[in-house]
Symmetry: C2
Subunit: 110 residues, 2 copies
DNA sequence: CTGATACTGAACCATATGGTTCAGTATCCA
DNA sequence: TGGATACTGAACCATATGGTTCAGTATCAG
């Protein structure tokens, strides 16, 4: 499959949010930046395992990581979610439109 | 990680759209229902491989498959995308709001 | 300087994903 | 009935993902 403009980024972002742990991290960070350990405390997982999730979010540019002393602070970087929203909203007309045509199609099939 | 309401479905749907082949399938089906072979013709992949992608989309309830003679017709089922749109739009305020606070934060760090 | 804190990288493991080939089922057509 | 058409399942393979442990680096506190 050929990769069009921004397709790889959508792969990364959609893949990143396809995991409940990572969505929970984003939800936590939406309440403000905080340290790795502080976010990690909510999960029953090793810190190393947690860091891997952070790495996935960082590669998708959904979080930024900066050093503050010996801690690292995570901050939400929500812009890539906009791209996902825009992609899904391309299909808005399909879930909004009356489903007569589709229903008729399936009734005909059965 | 505990799975909250609908979380597993979001996993499936976000995972399904995290692949350019599958997004292309959805784009094709947005122009109307058609057969497996017809959609598959656009991809340089075996039919078996293609079917696996269809299976992923079907498990995420993004396509429906019905038999018509010896062919099977695929149709877009866009409702699950609405859930993804709604999830991402929770973060709309973050990409819409002025980034003063965040920028100030990073400037302070550097 | 020393030790504790806060990560992070490397290696490893089990399972999932994305592809293949080959064989099988279901339907249409002559 | 007997092909040809249109998938689909099973087995296999390579790589990716999500977790672990253990060892290492960087910073702070005394």
């Amino acid at each position: 499959m050929v990769q069009y403009q921004g397709a790889k980024r959508l792969d990364l972002v959609a893949g990143a949010i396809a995991d409940p742990t990572r969505r929970a991290i984003l939800a936590r960070l939406s309440r403000g930046p905080t340290t790795v350990s502080d976010v990690a405390a909510a999960f029953s997982m090793t810190l190393t395992g947690f860091c891997k999730h952070v790495r996935v979010l960082e590669r998708a540019r959904l979080v930024r990581r900066t050093r503050r002393g010996r801690a690292k602070v995570l901050a939400l970087s929500p812009e890539p979610l906009r791209e996902v929203a825009e992609w899904t909203l391309q299909y808005e007309k399909f879930w909004n439109e009356r489903l007569d045509r589709l229903q008729a199609f399936f009734e005909k099939e059965e």
